[in-house]
Symmetry: C2
């Protein structure tokens, strides 16, 4: 069967972005459809939408191998536990620095293979100490442009880490966040360098901008908003997020 | 500047999918970034998100040429009028069969150019008599796989027109609806032929399935749900949608 490449140039990779409305969370499905087994990974599945995701995986004839988290989520329950009860053999994945349990513990620099495609693990601490970004491989048989699944290390146009782990990727790298509250689905390294408030201001100016911005975001929306990264709080929480080490 | 191709293989076309949460509407931004003017079109803009969309267009250095509607929307106010007041020179586009006014009236078979890229107009009546689907061109310098912006002629996995205008497109054609209530962002012709309820049942079986399905959708969500196509009603409406001729 001819599967679509979705958002990437490389026909080898099937790609789907899925949205969970209550927590404004994006879940990502990636699969190597050139491999006879069609091995697949899910990044940041949400418990409420596990049935939708697993049904899609079944319809597309994929074999789910990994259910991965970019970090420990405070605004919603990860779907990985539920997935493991429904498809025994699926391995959960999280970073060592998160301190959380999983079948497969990864560290900065590790590669996670599904078929001939792979994701690189990059440490992007801030929101939580264990936050990682998963980036598609840099090779001829990998998707082009590259794609980075940033978790909460980036909110499009709102906040993001300035360090080299994300923003020294090629300019055309597609950035896929774990959350969006304004209806954006994707950005690029080039755009975020130019227009992300955190990146285009000096540190102190930025901090005050972000604090007023975040108040707005937090008062309007539920969910995770890079709050911990700036010592702010999750909406409705009177104490700092327990999963945040800052 | 290096712009990303977004969801398509062809680097010539910049592509963005944008979401409006209240009416669960997708707006699509397409631009020919290989043309020095970077001419762009917006499909199904929503009035509430016009500022977000125009700001993005400005940030990306694009020149908006057309603000297009797939049909007359009953569940939200189109952004085209507001866009025209903010950027004089932008032309609104709608189908002749819609009976609505616009700067540029199109019919089945017409082509709409932005730079060297173009969209074909396909009549897909049902939800309203004037519904059209805009499909990217079939040529070497156009995006591959092809992309179809179906308006309300398709809701992923839920309902859709069976006629040849959409489902005889190549199997890997990416299908982008005007609405989604379950967090899907894209489908393909192949998937919808296999898994869309309307397509996999005979007409009478389908009709009863859809009626019960739609009751669920309509009781849970606000907004347009292919209702008119089946003689059903919009949520909260006691009469048939005025924009529906069925
Ligand atoms: Fe988070
Ligand atoms: Fe509609």
């Amino acid at each position: 069967a001819a599967y679509s490449a979705g958002s990437v140039g490389d026909r080898r990779m099937l790609f789907r972005q899925l949205f969970e409305k209550e927590s404004s969370t994006y879940t990502y499905l990636l699969a190597d459809v050139a491999d006879p087994d069609k091995p697949a990974v899910l990044i940041d599945p949400v418990d409420r939408t596990v049935d939708r995701d697993l049904n899609l995986i079944k319809e597309l004839g994929l074999k789910l191998v990994y259910a991965m988290n970019t970090h420990v989520h405070a605004d919603h329950v990860t779907g990985t536990g539920l997935i493991k009860t429904k498809i025994p053999g699926v391995k959960s994945v999280i970073s060592k620095a998160s301190g959380a349990k999983a079948d497969h513990i990864v560290e900065h620099g590790d590669k996670i293979y599904f078929g001939n495609l792979f994701l690189e693990v990059r440490a992007t601490p801030g929101h939580t100490a264990g936050c990682v970004t998963y980036v598609t491989g840099d090779a001829d048989n990998q998707p082009s442009p590259r794609m980075a699944f940033t978790g909460d290390a980036l909110i499009i146009r709102a906040c993001g880490r300035t360090d080299f782990q994300i923003f020294t990727l090629p300019k055309d790298t597609l950035l896929y966040p774990a959350h969006d509250y304004k209806g954006f689905t994707v950005s690029t390294v080039e755009e975020e360098i130019a227009y992300n408030a955190r990146l285009s201001k000096d540190k102190e100016t930025f901090k005050s901008i972000m604090e007023s911005k975040l108040e707005l975001v937090l008062s309007k929306d539920d969910g995770c908003s890079c709050a911990c990264q700036f010592g702010l709080r999750y909406p409705g929480s009177t104490t700092k997020d327990l999963s945040c080490s800052h």
